[in-house]
Symmetry: C2
Subunit: 457 residues, 2 copies
Amino acid sequence: MSLKPSIPKGTRDYHPEIVLKRNYITDIIRKVFISYGYLEIKTPSFEKIKTLSGKYGNEGDRLIFNILNSGEKVKKANINSLKNNNIPEFVSSISEKALRYDLTVPLARYVSQYQNEIKFPFKRFQIQNVWRADRPQKGRYQEFTQCDADVIGSNSLYLEFEMIQMYSAVFKRLGLKKVEIKINHREILASISRKIELSDNFLDFVIILDKLSKIGIDKVINELKKKLGLKDKYQSILNDIFKIKSSQETLTLIKDELIDDKSSDLAYRELKELYDLLCINSDDIINFSFDLNLARGLDYYTGAIFEVINVSNQDYIGSVGGGGRYKNLTERFNSKNLPGIGISFGLERIFHLIDDNDLFPDHIKTTNDVLVINFGKEYIHKILPILNKIRSDRNVSIYPDPVKLSKQFTYADKNKFNYVIIFGQEEMKKEIFKIKNLKSGKECINSIKSHAKDFKF
Amino acid sequence: MSLKPSIPKGTRDYHPEIVLKRNYITDIIRKVFISYGYLEIKTPSFEKIKTLSGKYGNEGDRLIFNILNSGEKVKKANINSLKNNNIPEFVSSISEKALRYDLTVPLARYVSQYQNEIKFPFKRFQIQNVWRADRPQKGRYQEFTQCDADVIGSNSLYLEFEMIQMYSAVFKRLGLKKVEIKINHREILASISRKIELSDNFLDFVIILDKLSKIGIDKVINELKKKLGLKDKYQSILNDIFKIKSSQETLTLIKDELIDDKSSDLAYRELKELYDLLCINSDDIINFSFDLNLARGLDYYTGAIFEVINVSNQDYIGSVGGGGRYKNLTERFNSKNLPGIGISFGLERIFHLIDDNDLFPDHIKTTNDVLVINFGKEYIHKILPILNKIRSDRNVSIYPDPVKLSKQFTYADKNKFNYVIIFGQEEMKKEIFKIKNLKSGKECINSIKSHAKDFKF
């Protein structure tokens, strides 16, 4: 009985053209990371459950893919816990490891594990797949690629600038002109929360604030009133703070209105210095804005926060990158205080942005280049030694069977070859071979005795 | 409470130098595959269990990593099957997908699924991780990388030659001179089994034969007698057949003694033609031998079989590649007859072979190149615009904090930087910066107004 072939929901096959396009993006990201001195590491696809659990909140824990213990070990399944509806206990009786959910927890585990060998500050990047048991839907997959760079072991503000430089370098090289880097700081948001007497509910406050770009300030204020009891008198203050303004105006507002303690004072001075650095180096930097309504990742980030958005079509594609500074990467694993800063690129969304805007270079659509038309064994055998010469700088494929020419030319066409090599009876007699450009139709005649460098295309 | 960080048994972290070395190998393999016209695909890390099960034999099925169904779905666990000790049934009640075990079954699934869109012959390669629940031990991991190239939809003998060409190109570029390609053919082994009246036990025969290089001919013959009832009279025939001989002598033996039907006649003619092709193109081909005692993968291969071994130290490192021809890749999925041929590179063993022989090029040991010594914010800010010019062809990292110089130089040393850039008070005054070669100690003085191309290293 035959089996209808298919893949699990939420997964994808990458066909050749897609692989090339994805490699094109990750190669640029990798090169930029390397050019700024980041070193690539890879961690295992699975980690111990105790490494992962409790790191991502209840929602995240639910989305972790557990790997079933193999062989006889599943016999240890705790049936009572299943009967008592204690699913976590049941799962832990039959599973000890789980698939990587992100690249941050593995980094924390890695840095803790090798802290005595690592020379800090440690600049590392990682481009690997992660897995999440999200409900599959259009554009959301259970397996996808993350591209992260982090520096562990330094509080230098220069690194905030470096992160923005790297974002700029990548998006410039990709030709994406309509992206913008938003910058904010946790301590400024904290100051705002104090100003409106919501500092006791800081995380709830920023979760509501994060919706601002989608639902607008009025609805945010209503929600703050309803859910957190925001007092009416603060309404106009919030309206002023979150009115759209330039980076310069935002900095002035912070300076004049939002410095109320040492931390917010320091945060202001950091943002101001970062702003000056960005302005001085503006040739290398893409559009940026200091934006008080950026309120992402605050369960994790303790200083500067970044988000890169597509401004031409924001609702459609959303964020293409994000990052920020954190005080202690490894607190779950040990007591050594290791501050850090990191950014991430959203490969899937960047892919679609480039694809939709037709910004992939033509040459990456296939690696197929030269196809040798097969006129029969004797011709192929004779031309073989020449082909390896051509291969030193071009890709050469031989059509393996001497079938009808029309079929071979159709194959060349459908597989987007640029050239065919023709070496049949007539050519063998004359000791030549022809290289035909399939787009222009132009034919170049070459002697089979020529040196590789003299071949005419 | 702090958690001692560690990874699951059988997995590995790849530190920066290891990542570079592995990329060095896979980049060469990838380039060779592409230069011969193979297209890269990627398939999901997990497949449906029904795609994988029954494809790898009982032993293989046992080594597949199952992924636990997520969320509420585990409640459907079939407790009765567990009580009845029916583990496969229990597992299938809580798991629908499993991690990729190899790249061959996903290829078969892929080709079947997209057979109407693919233009055959389909030349694809795939470099991805696979997972096996093997008992972890030295040099054997539960996660490792496979590198496969296959052609689907052609019976051309030229492809046997192409596979050997690609093996040769890869091992030549890697500088591995002491590897040898062994070549044999299923139909010749079948003929031998007929000659000694063991054709009814063909697969058992080749499993025993496969041990020949380890245990020697005498023990193989003893085992054939004991387990398969080999008759005494065939002992001398086997001794003759498996005596060490040259490829030419092997071909003569086949021609004179082992052609007994149409299939073995065809097999002989194929091997002879392949031999001639290899001799004519010997400049591009590494050492090869036609070797009747190569008896690998015969549950799968139906024609030519290949194995690449390390001849200098065979016992220690074993096979570094293998492949062969098969009649029907996709028979599990549909009735369309799709013959093929494929090879695989053993990345882990190739890695160790190169490492043990110190054949990794020096320049791939780190991507660290230039470190900017940090004399304080004002100096860093001033030199920043220059650094991006240097970054166009070198990797430049800034030490993020203005700590003691000795600490920064130690960091440069331990992290294998080639150069440091020195730009402190004195240099700022003179409007110069120094580039110091850390190996030779040589210092080059550059004007901060120079063009990038004029920088002296």
